[in-house]
Protein backbone atom coordinates (compact mmCIF):
# COMPACT_ATOMS: atom_id res chain seq x y z
CA UNK A 1 0.00 0.00 0.00
CA UNK A 2 1.45 3.38 -0.97
CA UNK A 3 2.33 5.70 1.87
CA UNK A 4 0.99 8.74 0.07
CA UNK A 5 -2.33 8.24 -1.60
CA UNK A 6 -3.18 9.89 -4.89
CA UNK A 7 -5.75 12.17 -3.33
CA UNK A 8 -3.26 13.33 -0.69
CA UNK A 9 -0.74 13.99 -3.40
CA UNK A 10 -3.06 16.11 -5.50
CA UNK A 11 -4.16 18.04 -2.42
CA UNK A 12 -0.51 18.85 -1.62
CA UNK A 13 0.08 19.90 -5.19
CA UNK A 14 -2.84 22.28 -5.20
CA UNK A 15 -1.69 23.72 -1.91
CA UNK A 16 1.89 24.22 -3.05
CA UNK A 17 0.76 25.73 -6.34
CA UNK A 18 -1.42 28.21 -4.52
CA UNK A 19 1.29 29.12 -2.05
CA UNK A 20 4.00 29.79 -4.58
CA UNK A 21 1.94 31.37 -7.34
CA UNK A 22 -0.19 33.74 -5.31
CA UNK A 23 0.16 37.35 -6.46
CA UNK A 24 0.51 39.29 -3.26
CA UNK A 25 0.78 43.03 -3.38
CA UNK A 26 3.31 43.94 -0.80
CA UNK A 27 2.59 47.57 0.01
CA UNK A 28 5.82 48.60 1.69
CA UNK A 29 7.94 47.39 -1.22
CA UNK A 30 5.72 49.20 -3.73
CA UNK A 31 6.02 52.37 -1.65
CA UNK A 32 9.78 51.98 -1.54
CA UNK A 33 10.01 51.55 -5.32
CA UNK A 34 7.93 54.67 -5.87
CA UNK A 35 10.04 56.70 -3.44
CA UNK A 36 13.25 55.60 -5.11
CA UNK A 37 11.84 56.40 -8.53
CA UNK A 38 10.88 59.89 -7.37
CA UNK A 39 14.38 60.44 -5.99
CA UNK A 40 15.98 59.42 -9.27
CA UNK A 41 13.56 61.52 -11.34
CA UNK A 42 14.12 64.55 -9.17
CA UNK A 43 17.89 64.25 -9.46
CA UNK A 44 17.80 63.80 -13.22
CA UNK A 45 15.34 66.68 -13.68
CA UNK A 46 17.54 69.01 -11.68
CA UNK A 47 20.59 68.00 -13.69
CA UNK A 48 18.86 68.40 -17.05
CA UNK A 49 17.23 71.72 -16.24
CA UNK A 50 20.59 73.02 -15.07
CA UNK A 51 22.25 71.82 -18.24
CA UNK A 52 19.44 73.18 -20.41
CA UNK A 53 19.68 76.57 -18.77
CA UNK A 54 23.44 76.79 -19.12
CA UNK A 55 23.29 75.72 -22.76
CA UNK A 56 20.49 78.11 -23.77
CA UNK A 57 22.12 80.96 -21.91
CA UNK A 58 25.47 80.18 -23.44
CA UNK A 59 24.21 80.02 -27.03
CA UNK A 60 24.45 83.80 -27.68
CA UNK A 61 28.02 83.90 -26.41
CA UNK A 62 29.08 81.21 -28.86
CA UNK A 63 26.88 82.09 -31.83
CA UNK A 64 27.82 85.77 -31.79
CA UNK A 65 31.45 85.44 -30.82
CA UNK A 66 32.41 82.02 -32.07
CA UNK A 67 36.00 81.05 -31.40
CA UNK A 68 36.87 84.55 -30.23
CA UNK A 69 34.90 83.80 -27.05
CA UNK A 70 37.54 81.17 -26.32
CA UNK A 71 40.56 83.13 -27.50
CA UNK A 72 39.63 86.65 -26.37
CA UNK A 73 40.71 88.16 -23.12
CA UNK A 74 38.65 89.40 -20.19
CA UNK A 75 37.44 92.98 -19.91
CA UNK A 76 34.56 95.23 -18.95
CA UNK A 77 32.19 94.77 -21.93
CA UNK A 78 30.20 91.52 -21.96
CA UNK A 79 29.95 91.37 -25.76
CA UNK A 80 33.72 91.67 -26.18
CA UNK A 81 35.07 89.40 -23.43
CA UNK A 82 36.75 86.08 -24.02
CA UNK A 83 37.74 83.43 -21.54
CA UNK A 84 41.27 82.66 -22.72
CA UNK A 85 43.00 83.77 -19.47
CA UNK A 86 40.56 81.61 -17.49
CA UNK A 87 41.03 78.64 -19.80
CA UNK A 88 44.80 78.97 -19.54
CA UNK A 89 44.58 79.30 -15.73
CA UNK A 90 42.24 76.36 -15.27
CA UNK A 91 44.25 74.14 -17.57
CA UNK A 92 47.49 75.04 -15.77
CA UNK A 93 45.81 74.39 -12.41
CA UNK A 94 44.57 71.02 -13.67
CA UNK A 95 48.03 69.97 -14.82
CA UNK A 96 49.61 71.33 -11.64
CA UNK A 97 47.18 69.43 -9.42
CA UNK A 98 47.84 66.23 -11.39
CA UNK A 99 51.59 66.65 -11.05
CA UNK A 100 51.51 67.50 -7.34
CA UNK A 101 48.52 65.84 -5.69
CA UNK A 102 48.53 62.52 -7.56
CA UNK A 103 52.09 61.38 -6.81
CA UNK A 104 51.91 62.72 -3.25
CA UNK A 105 48.49 61.21 -2.63
CA UNK A 106 49.32 57.79 -4.05
CA UNK A 107 52.60 57.79 -2.17
CA UNK A 108 50.91 58.61 1.11
CA UNK A 109 48.25 55.96 0.48
CA UNK A 110 50.86 53.30 -0.27
CA UNK A 111 52.77 54.20 2.86
CA UNK A 112 49.71 54.15 5.09
CA UNK A 113 48.31 50.92 3.67
CA UNK A 114 51.38 48.85 2.88
CA UNK A 115 54.18 50.09 5.10
CA UNK A 116 52.87 51.84 8.20
CA UNK A 117 52.21 49.71 11.23
CA UNK A 118 48.62 49.63 12.43
CA UNK A 119 49.25 51.59 15.60
CA UNK A 120 47.45 54.40 17.38
CA UNK A 121 49.50 57.17 15.78
CA UNK A 122 48.77 56.00 12.25
CA UNK A 123 45.09 55.53 12.93
CA UNK A 124 45.08 59.10 14.23
CA UNK A 125 46.77 60.29 11.04
CA UNK A 126 44.21 58.50 8.85
CA UNK A 127 41.27 59.90 10.81
CA UNK A 128 42.69 63.38 10.37
CA UNK A 129 43.17 62.93 6.65
CA UNK A 130 39.52 61.92 6.42
CA UNK A 131 38.57 65.06 8.31
CA UNK A 132 40.71 67.21 6.06
CA UNK A 133 38.66 66.02 3.09
CA UNK A 134 35.71 67.81 4.68
CA UNK A 135 37.39 71.12 5.42
CA UNK A 136 35.71 74.00 3.49
CA UNK A 137 37.60 75.19 0.43
CA UNK A 138 37.82 78.76 1.66
CA UNK A 139 39.95 77.59 4.61
CA UNK A 140 42.40 76.13 2.12
CA UNK A 141 42.32 79.53 0.43
CA UNK A 142 43.50 81.16 3.66
CA UNK A 143 46.19 78.51 3.97
CA UNK A 144 47.28 79.11 0.37
CA UNK A 145 47.37 82.85 0.92
CA UNK A 146 49.60 82.52 3.96
CA UNK A 147 51.89 79.72 2.76
CA UNK A 148 52.09 79.83 -1.01
CA UNK A 149 51.46 83.51 -1.68
CA UNK A 150 53.24 84.76 1.44
CA UNK A 151 55.97 82.47 2.77
CA UNK A 152 56.82 80.81 -0.53
CA UNK A 153 56.77 84.01 -2.56
CA UNK A 154 60.32 83.41 -3.87
CA UNK A 155 59.06 80.17 -5.45
CA UNK A 156 55.55 81.09 -6.51
CA UNK A 157 56.09 84.79 -7.21
CA UNK A 158 53.03 85.66 -5.11
CA UNK A 159 49.44 85.26 -6.30
CA UNK A 160 50.20 83.31 -9.45
CA UNK A 161 48.74 80.24 -11.09
CA UNK A 162 51.55 78.26 -9.44
CA UNK A 163 50.33 79.29 -5.99
CA UNK A 164 46.78 78.43 -7.09
CA UNK A 165 47.82 74.98 -8.32
CA UNK A 166 49.68 74.30 -5.07
CA UNK A 167 46.71 75.41 -2.96
CA UNK A 168 44.22 73.32 -4.91
CA UNK A 169 46.60 70.35 -4.87
CA UNK A 170 46.64 70.52 -1.07
CA UNK A 171 42.84 70.86 -1.15
CA UNK A 172 42.30 67.66 -3.10
CA UNK A 173 45.16 65.71 -1.55
CA UNK A 174 42.98 64.12 1.18
CA UNK A 175 40.50 62.91 -1.45
CA UNK A 176 43.29 61.34 -3.50
CA UNK A 177 44.81 59.70 -0.42
CA UNK A 178 41.52 58.28 0.85
CA UNK A 179 40.30 56.91 -2.48
CA UNK A 180 43.75 55.45 -3.18
CA UNK A 181 43.87 53.84 0.25
CA UNK A 182 40.50 52.26 -0.35
CA UNK A 183 41.61 50.98 -3.75
CA UNK A 184 44.78 49.53 -2.22
CA UNK A 185 42.87 47.93 0.62
CA UNK A 186 40.66 46.18 -1.90
CA UNK A 187 43.63 44.36 -3.45
CA UNK A 188 43.20 40.67 -2.54
CA UNK A 189 45.60 39.47 0.15
CA UNK A 190 46.34 36.41 -1.97
CA UNK A 191 47.99 38.58 -4.59
CA UNK A 192 50.46 39.93 -2.05
CA UNK A 193 51.02 36.44 -0.64
CA UNK A 194 51.78 35.20 -4.14
CA UNK A 195 54.43 37.85 -4.63
CA UNK A 196 56.03 37.35 -1.23
CA UNK A 197 55.87 33.59 -1.77
CA UNK A 198 58.41 33.78 -4.59
CA UNK A 199 60.74 36.05 -2.64
CA UNK A 200 59.62 39.49 -3.81
CA UNK A 201 60.33 42.34 -1.41
CA UNK A 202 57.62 44.59 -0.07
CA UNK A 203 58.50 47.25 -2.63
CA UNK A 204 58.48 44.74 -5.51
CA UNK A 205 55.09 43.43 -4.47
CA UNK A 206 53.75 46.97 -4.16
CA UNK A 207 55.14 48.04 -7.53
CA UNK A 208 54.33 44.90 -9.52
CA UNK A 209 51.03 43.79 -8.03
CA UNK A 210 49.38 46.09 -5.53
CA UNK A 211 49.56 49.39 -7.44
CA UNK A 212 48.62 47.96 -10.87
CA UNK A 213 45.64 46.16 -9.33
CA UNK A 214 44.54 49.28 -7.43
CA UNK A 215 45.12 51.60 -10.40
CA UNK A 216 41.51 51.75 -11.68
CA UNK A 217 40.29 52.76 -8.23
CA UNK A 218 43.11 55.25 -7.80
CA UNK A 219 42.24 56.82 -11.16
CA UNK A 220 38.60 57.17 -10.19
CA UNK A 221 39.65 59.13 -7.13
CA UNK A 222 42.06 61.21 -9.16
CA UNK A 223 39.39 62.19 -11.69
CA UNK A 224 37.00 63.18 -8.88
CA UNK A 225 39.71 65.23 -7.21
CA UNK A 226 40.61 66.96 -10.43
CA UNK A 227 37.01 67.86 -11.16
CA UNK A 228 36.77 69.36 -7.71
CA UNK A 229 39.97 71.37 -8.14
CA UNK A 230 38.80 72.75 -11.48
CA UNK A 231 35.48 73.87 -10.06
CA UNK A 232 36.65 75.68 -6.93
CA UNK A 233 36.43 79.48 -6.90
CA UNK A 234 36.66 80.30 -3.19
CA UNK A 235 40.37 79.55 -2.67
CA UNK A 236 41.18 81.48 -5.85
CA UNK A 237 39.44 84.56 -4.48
CA UNK A 238 41.61 84.31 -1.38
CA UNK A 239 44.77 83.91 -3.40
CA UNK A 240 43.85 86.90 -5.55
CA UNK A 241 42.72 85.73 -8.96
CA UNK A 242 42.07 88.59 -11.40
CA UNK A 243 38.64 89.45 -12.81
CA UNK A 244 39.31 92.84 -14.33
CA UNK A 245 41.93 93.11 -17.03
CA UNK A 246 44.51 90.46 -17.82
CA UNK A 247 46.22 91.00 -21.15
CA UNK A 248 49.08 88.57 -20.53
CA UNK A 249 48.86 84.96 -19.41
CA UNK A 250 51.91 83.46 -17.77
CA UNK A 251 52.88 81.11 -14.97
CA UNK A 252 54.68 83.81 -13.04
CA UNK A 253 52.26 86.73 -13.37
CA UNK A 254 48.71 87.49 -12.34
CA UNK A 255 46.16 84.83 -13.23
CA UNK A 256 42.52 83.89 -13.31
CA UNK A 257 40.53 80.69 -13.79
CA UNK A 258 37.13 79.81 -15.26
CA UNK A 259 35.21 79.38 -11.95
CA UNK A 260 36.54 82.79 -10.96
CA UNK A 261 35.15 84.34 -14.17
CA UNK A 262 31.79 82.62 -13.71
CA UNK A 263 31.60 83.92 -10.16
CA UNK A 264 32.56 87.45 -11.15
CA UNK A 265 30.49 87.72 -14.33
CA UNK A 266 27.34 86.27 -12.76
CA UNK A 267 27.33 89.15 -10.32
CA UNK A 268 27.42 91.87 -12.96
CA UNK A 269 24.19 93.53 -14.19
CA UNK A 270 22.86 92.59 -17.66
CA UNK A 271 22.19 96.12 -18.88
CA UNK A 272 24.53 96.82 -21.75
CA UNK A 273 22.50 97.10 -24.96
CA UNK A 274 24.36 94.34 -26.86
CA UNK A 275 23.19 90.85 -27.72
CA UNK A 276 25.43 89.26 -25.12
CA UNK A 277 24.89 90.04 -21.48
CA UNK A 278 27.12 89.06 -18.56
CA UNK A 279 24.81 86.14 -17.79
CA UNK A 280 25.43 84.77 -21.29
CA UNK A 281 29.16 85.17 -20.88
CA UNK A 282 29.03 83.45 -17.49
CA UNK A 283 26.98 80.58 -18.92
CA UNK A 284 29.44 80.27 -21.81
CA UNK A 285 32.31 80.05 -19.36
CA UNK A 286 30.36 77.45 -17.37
CA UNK A 287 29.88 75.35 -20.47
CA UNK A 288 33.61 75.51 -21.24
CA UNK A 289 34.39 74.44 -17.65
CA UNK A 290 32.03 71.47 -18.00
CA UNK A 291 33.74 70.54 -21.26
CA UNK A 292 37.16 70.80 -19.64
CA UNK A 293 36.12 68.54 -16.77
CA UNK A 294 34.60 66.16 -19.29
CA UNK A 295 37.87 65.98 -21.23
CA UNK A 296 39.82 65.13 -18.07
CA UNK A 297 37.16 62.55 -17.16
CA UNK A 298 37.33 60.90 -20.56
CA UNK A 299 41.10 60.63 -20.31
CA UNK A 300 40.66 59.14 -16.84
CA UNK A 301 38.12 56.61 -18.07
CA UNK A 302 40.34 55.53 -20.96
CA UNK A 303 43.24 55.03 -18.58
CA UNK A 304 41.02 53.13 -16.19
CA UNK A 305 39.82 50.78 -18.90
CA UNK A 306 43.41 50.23 -19.91
CA UNK A 307 44.36 49.22 -16.37
CA UNK A 308 41.24 47.12 -15.90
CA UNK A 309 42.12 45.13 -19.00
CA UNK A 310 45.55 44.60 -17.47
CA UNK A 311 43.97 43.42 -14.27
CA UNK A 312 42.51 40.35 -15.93
CA UNK A 313 45.88 39.66 -17.46
CA UNK A 314 45.25 40.37 -21.12
Amino acid sequence: MPIVTDSQRSATRTQVRQAITQQKRHLPSIALSVTLLIAVTFTLLTLFSLLARIVTQAIPAFSERGASFLSGTIGSEPDKVGIWPGLFGSFAIGIGVLLIAVPLGIGAAIYLEEYAEQNRLNRFVVVNIRNLAGVPAVIYGVLGLIIFVGWLKPVTNGGTVVAAALTLAILVLPVVIITSMEAIRAVPMGLRDAGYGVGASRWEVTRDHVVPYAMPGILTGTVLALARALGEAAPLIMIGAITGLLPETSLSGKFTAIPMLIYSWSGRPDSSGGNIGWSNAAAGAGLVLLALVLVFNIIGIFLRNHFEAKRVGT
Binding site: E117, Q118, N119, P188, G190, L191, R192, D193, A194, G195, Y196, G197, V198, G199, A200, S201, E204, D208, H209, Y213, K310, R311, V312, G313, T314
Partner: protein
Amino acid sequence: MSTSDSPQESGALGVGADVSTSLAQEQQTKSDSIDLPIFAVRDLSVKYGEFRAVRDVTLDISEHEITAFIGPSGCGKTTVLRCLNRMNDFIDSAKVEGRIDYHGVDLYHEDVNPNEVRRRIGMVFQKPNPFPKSIFDNVAYGPRLTGGMSKADLNDLVERSLRRAALWDEVKDRLKASALGLSGGQQQRLCIARCIAVEPDVILMDEPCSALDPIATARIEDLMQEIKKDYTIIIVTHNMQQAARVSDRTAFFTTEMNTESDRRTGVLVEYDTTNKMFSVPSDERTEAYVTGRFG
Protein backbone atom coordinates in the same frame (compact mmCIF):
# COMPACT_ATOMS: atom_id res chain seq x y z
CA MET B 1 72.39 39.41 4.09
CA SER B 2 71.45 35.91 3.13
CA THR B 3 71.75 32.63 4.91
CA SER B 4 75.15 31.09 4.79
CA ASP B 5 76.70 27.69 5.03
CA SER B 6 80.05 28.84 6.32
CA PRO B 7 80.47 27.72 9.94
CA GLN B 8 82.15 30.96 10.87
CA GLU B 9 79.25 33.02 9.68
CA SER B 10 76.62 30.85 11.23
CA GLY B 11 78.60 31.06 14.44
CA ALA B 12 78.44 34.81 14.16
CA LEU B 13 74.68 34.52 13.82
CA GLY B 14 74.58 32.94 17.22
CA VAL B 15 73.68 29.53 15.87
CA GLY B 16 75.87 26.67 15.02
CA ALA B 17 76.19 23.10 14.05
CA ASP B 18 75.97 22.24 17.75
CA VAL B 19 72.28 23.07 17.87
CA SER B 20 71.27 20.72 15.13
CA THR B 21 73.65 17.92 16.12
CA SER B 22 72.43 17.86 19.67
CA LEU B 23 68.87 17.77 18.42
CA ALA B 24 69.76 14.96 16.09
CA GLN B 25 71.33 12.98 18.91
CA GLU B 26 68.28 13.43 21.01
CA GLN B 27 66.23 11.95 18.19
CA GLN B 28 68.57 8.99 17.74
CA THR B 29 66.83 7.05 20.48
CA LYS B 30 63.63 6.87 18.45
CA SER B 31 63.39 4.79 15.35
CA ASP B 32 62.87 6.59 12.04
CA SER B 33 64.77 9.50 13.48
CA ILE B 34 65.75 12.57 11.53
CA ASP B 35 69.51 12.77 11.31
CA LEU B 36 70.00 16.20 9.89
CA PRO B 37 66.79 18.17 9.99
CA ILE B 38 66.28 20.93 7.43
CA PHE B 39 64.09 22.72 9.97
CA ALA B 40 64.53 22.44 13.70
CA VAL B 41 61.60 24.08 15.48
CA ARG B 42 62.01 24.66 19.22
CA ASP B 43 59.34 25.90 21.63
CA LEU B 44 57.63 27.91 18.92
CA SER B 45 54.76 30.07 20.15
CA VAL B 46 52.85 32.60 18.10
CA LYS B 47 50.71 35.35 19.51
CA TYR B 48 48.32 37.57 17.59
CA GLY B 49 48.12 40.55 19.91
CA GLU B 50 47.10 39.07 23.24
CA PHE B 51 45.80 35.86 21.74
CA ARG B 52 48.18 32.92 21.74
CA ALA B 53 47.38 30.99 18.56
CA VAL B 54 49.81 28.14 19.08
CA ARG B 55 52.33 27.30 21.75
CA ASP B 56 55.43 25.25 22.48
CA VAL B 57 55.78 23.51 19.16
CA THR B 58 58.96 21.48 18.88
CA LEU B 59 59.64 19.36 15.83
CA ASP B 60 62.25 18.54 13.21
CA ILE B 61 61.53 18.42 9.50
CA SER B 62 63.39 15.97 7.36
CA GLU B 63 64.83 16.81 3.96
CA HIS B 64 63.34 15.37 0.76
CA GLU B 65 60.30 14.10 2.50
CA ILE B 66 56.71 15.20 2.63
CA THR B 67 55.62 16.26 6.08
CA ALA B 68 51.93 16.76 6.74
CA PHE B 69 50.42 19.00 9.41
CA ILE B 70 46.92 17.84 10.29
CA GLY B 71 44.40 18.85 12.89
CA PRO B 72 41.06 20.57 13.43
CA SER B 73 40.43 24.20 12.48
CA GLY B 74 42.18 26.76 14.65
CA CYS B 75 44.87 24.35 15.84
CA GLY B 76 47.64 26.57 14.54
CA LYS B 77 48.99 24.36 11.77
CA THR B 78 48.83 27.12 9.15
CA THR B 79 50.32 29.57 11.63
CA VAL B 80 53.29 27.26 12.20
CA LEU B 81 53.65 26.74 8.45
CA ARG B 82 53.73 30.48 7.80
CA CYS B 83 56.43 30.89 10.44
CA LEU B 84 58.73 28.62 8.46
CA ASN B 85 59.19 31.18 5.67
CA ARG B 86 58.43 34.28 7.71
CA MET B 87 55.11 34.98 6.03
CA ASN B 88 53.85 36.05 9.45
CA ASP B 89 56.10 39.10 9.19
CA PHE B 90 53.30 40.83 7.33
CA ILE B 91 50.81 40.50 10.16
CA ASP B 92 51.59 43.44 12.42
CA SER B 93 50.10 41.86 15.51
CA ALA B 94 51.87 38.51 15.09
CA LYS B 95 54.67 37.82 17.53
CA VAL B 96 56.85 34.75 17.13
CA GLU B 97 58.61 33.28 20.15
CA GLY B 98 60.94 30.31 20.32
CA ARG B 99 63.30 29.37 17.61
CA ILE B 100 63.31 27.98 14.10
CA ASP B 101 66.59 26.86 12.59
CA TYR B 102 66.75 26.38 8.84
CA HIS B 103 69.91 24.48 7.85
CA GLY B 104 71.20 25.42 11.27
CA VAL B 105 70.57 29.16 10.84
CA ASP B 106 68.18 30.96 13.14
CA LEU B 107 65.45 32.17 10.74
CA TYR B 108 64.43 35.03 13.00
CA HIS B 109 67.92 36.40 13.57
CA GLU B 110 68.11 40.08 12.67
CA ASP B 111 70.77 39.49 9.99
CA VAL B 112 68.48 37.19 8.02
CA ASN B 113 66.93 38.66 4.87
CA PRO B 114 63.32 37.46 4.85
CA ASN B 115 62.95 37.93 1.09
CA GLU B 116 65.84 35.57 0.49
CA VAL B 117 64.29 33.13 2.96
CA ARG B 118 61.02 33.19 1.02
CA ARG B 119 62.84 32.71 -2.26
CA ARG B 120 64.33 29.48 -0.88
CA ILE B 121 61.23 28.42 0.99
CA GLY B 122 58.43 28.84 -1.52
CA MET B 123 54.76 28.69 -0.75
CA VAL B 124 51.58 27.43 -2.40
CA PHE B 125 48.39 28.79 -0.92
CA GLN B 126 44.95 27.49 -0.10
CA LYS B 127 43.22 29.41 -2.83
CA PRO B 128 44.99 29.37 -6.19
CA ASN B 129 46.36 32.90 -6.54
CA PRO B 130 47.90 33.38 -9.96
CA PHE B 131 48.93 36.91 -10.81
CA PRO B 132 46.52 38.63 -13.20
CA LYS B 133 49.12 38.25 -15.92
CA SER B 134 49.82 35.80 -18.70
CA ILE B 135 50.70 32.20 -17.89
CA PHE B 136 54.26 32.84 -19.00
CA ASP B 137 54.64 35.99 -16.91
CA ASN B 138 53.33 34.17 -13.85
CA VAL B 139 56.07 31.59 -14.00
CA ALA B 140 58.72 34.09 -15.10
CA TYR B 141 57.96 36.59 -12.33
CA GLY B 142 60.20 35.09 -9.66
CA PRO B 143 63.23 34.49 -11.90
CA ARG B 144 62.89 38.00 -13.35
CA LEU B 145 63.17 39.49 -9.85
CA THR B 146 66.61 37.99 -9.52
CA GLY B 147 67.38 39.11 -13.05
CA GLY B 148 70.42 38.38 -15.17
CA MET B 149 68.74 35.76 -17.32
CA SER B 150 68.80 35.66 -21.09
CA LYS B 151 65.49 35.40 -22.92
CA ALA B 152 66.30 31.90 -24.11
CA ASP B 153 67.24 30.75 -20.61
CA LEU B 154 64.05 32.23 -19.23
CA ASN B 155 61.94 30.49 -21.88
CA ASP B 156 63.70 27.28 -20.99
CA LEU B 157 63.12 27.73 -17.28
CA VAL B 158 59.44 28.49 -17.78
CA GLU B 159 58.99 25.38 -19.90
CA ARG B 160 60.88 23.22 -17.42
CA SER B 161 58.87 24.56 -14.48
CA LEU B 162 55.56 24.04 -16.26
CA ARG B 163 56.60 20.50 -17.22
CA ARG B 164 57.53 19.70 -13.63
CA ALA B 165 54.16 20.99 -12.52
CA ALA B 166 52.50 18.72 -15.12
CA LEU B 167 50.88 21.69 -16.82
CA TRP B 168 53.02 22.18 -19.92
CA ASP B 169 50.95 20.08 -22.33
CA GLU B 170 47.78 21.89 -21.37
CA VAL B 171 49.12 25.42 -21.72
CA LYS B 172 52.02 25.30 -24.20
CA ASP B 173 49.89 26.80 -26.96
CA ARG B 174 48.55 29.66 -24.89
CA LEU B 175 51.43 30.88 -22.76
CA LYS B 176 50.47 34.46 -23.54
CA ALA B 177 46.88 33.97 -22.40
CA SER B 178 45.70 35.18 -19.00
CA ALA B 179 46.31 32.81 -16.14
CA LEU B 180 42.88 33.69 -14.81
CA GLY B 181 41.34 31.77 -17.72
CA LEU B 182 42.64 28.45 -16.38
CA SER B 183 40.55 26.06 -14.30
CA GLY B 184 41.08 25.96 -10.53
CA GLY B 185 43.24 22.84 -10.70
CA GLN B 186 45.32 24.26 -13.53
CA GLN B 187 45.72 27.52 -11.62
CA GLN B 188 47.02 25.65 -8.59
CA ARG B 189 49.51 23.73 -10.74
CA LEU B 190 50.52 27.05 -12.25
CA CYS B 191 51.16 28.34 -8.73
CA ILE B 192 53.32 25.29 -8.10
CA ALA B 193 55.19 25.95 -11.35
CA ARG B 194 55.67 29.57 -10.33
CA CYS B 195 57.05 28.38 -7.02
CA ILE B 196 59.38 25.82 -8.67
CA ALA B 197 60.67 28.41 -11.14
CA VAL B 198 62.68 30.23 -8.46
CA GLU B 199 64.35 26.89 -7.68
CA PRO B 200 63.51 26.78 -4.01
CA ASP B 201 64.74 24.31 -1.45
CA VAL B 202 61.48 23.83 0.40
CA ILE B 203 57.85 24.13 -0.74
CA LEU B 204 55.25 24.94 1.88
CA MET B 205 51.71 24.04 0.87
CA ASP B 206 48.79 25.46 2.80
CA GLU B 207 45.79 23.23 2.06
CA PRO B 208 46.64 23.32 -1.64
CA CYS B 209 43.74 21.09 -2.68
CA SER B 210 40.93 22.39 -0.52
CA ALA B 211 39.47 24.39 -3.42
CA LEU B 212 39.90 21.59 -5.96
CA ASP B 213 37.85 18.64 -7.13
CA PRO B 214 39.07 15.07 -6.54
CA ILE B 215 40.62 14.69 -9.99
CA ALA B 216 42.59 17.91 -9.72
CA THR B 217 43.54 16.89 -6.18
CA ALA B 218 44.87 13.55 -7.40
CA ARG B 219 47.00 15.33 -10.00
CA ILE B 220 48.50 17.63 -7.37
CA GLU B 221 49.21 14.66 -5.10
CA ASP B 222 50.94 12.77 -7.93
CA LEU B 223 52.91 15.89 -8.62
CA MET B 224 54.04 16.10 -5.00
CA GLN B 225 55.37 12.55 -5.10
CA GLU B 226 57.09 13.33 -8.37
CA ILE B 227 58.92 16.42 -7.11
CA LYS B 228 59.72 15.41 -3.55
CA LYS B 229 63.11 14.00 -4.52
CA ASP B 230 64.21 17.52 -5.34
CA TYR B 231 62.34 19.47 -2.71
CA THR B 232 61.32 19.22 0.88
CA ILE B 233 57.56 19.58 1.09
CA ILE B 234 55.48 20.53 4.08
CA ILE B 235 51.74 20.38 3.57
CA VAL B 236 48.92 21.55 5.78
CA THR B 237 45.75 19.61 5.13
CA HIS B 238 42.30 19.15 6.57
CA ASN B 239 42.02 15.92 4.71
CA MET B 240 43.37 12.99 6.71
CA GLN B 241 43.23 10.61 3.77
CA GLN B 242 45.39 13.04 1.88
CA ALA B 243 47.93 13.16 4.69
CA ALA B 244 47.95 9.37 4.83
CA ARG B 245 48.36 9.08 1.05
CA VAL B 246 51.07 11.61 0.40
CA SER B 247 53.16 12.21 3.49
CA ASP B 248 56.15 10.47 5.02
CA ARG B 249 55.68 12.07 8.40
CA THR B 250 52.65 13.57 10.03
CA ALA B 251 52.30 16.09 12.82
CA PHE B 252 48.95 16.22 14.57
CA PHE B 253 47.91 19.49 16.17
CA THR B 254 44.86 20.17 18.24
CA THR B 255 43.40 22.99 20.32
CA GLU B 256 43.19 23.22 24.05
CA MET B 257 41.76 25.66 26.53
CA ASN B 258 44.14 28.09 28.11
CA THR B 259 44.01 30.37 31.08
CA GLU B 260 44.89 33.59 29.23
CA SER B 261 41.81 33.97 27.08
CA ASP B 262 38.62 32.21 26.15
CA ARG B 263 39.98 31.31 22.74
CA ARG B 264 41.65 27.99 22.31
CA THR B 265 45.36 27.66 21.72
CA GLY B 266 46.90 25.19 19.28
CA VAL B 267 49.35 22.58 20.46
CA LEU B 268 51.35 19.85 18.77
CA VAL B 269 50.07 16.54 20.07
CA GLU B 270 52.12 13.98 18.25
CA TYR B 271 54.63 13.83 15.45
CA ASP B 272 55.85 10.62 13.90
CA THR B 273 56.07 8.70 10.66
CA THR B 274 52.76 8.71 8.86
CA ASN B 275 52.61 4.93 9.10
CA LYS B 276 52.74 4.98 12.88
CA MET B 277 50.47 7.98 13.20
CA PHE B 278 47.73 6.24 11.30
CA SER B 279 48.24 2.72 12.63
CA VAL B 280 49.63 2.86 16.16
CA PRO B 281 49.41 6.44 17.41
CA SER B 282 50.67 6.83 20.94
CA ASP B 283 48.30 9.61 21.95
CA GLU B 284 44.61 8.83 22.28
CA ARG B 285 43.69 12.27 20.85
CA THR B 286 45.59 11.39 17.68
CA GLU B 287 43.80 8.08 17.50
CA ALA B 288 40.44 9.73 17.98
CA TYR B 289 41.21 12.21 15.21
CA VAL B 290 42.64 9.84 12.62
CA THR B 291 39.83 7.37 13.11
CA GLY B 292 37.33 10.16 12.59
CA ARG B 293 35.86 10.17 16.07
CA PHE B 294 36.65 13.82 16.53
CA GLY B 295 37.48 16.89 14.46
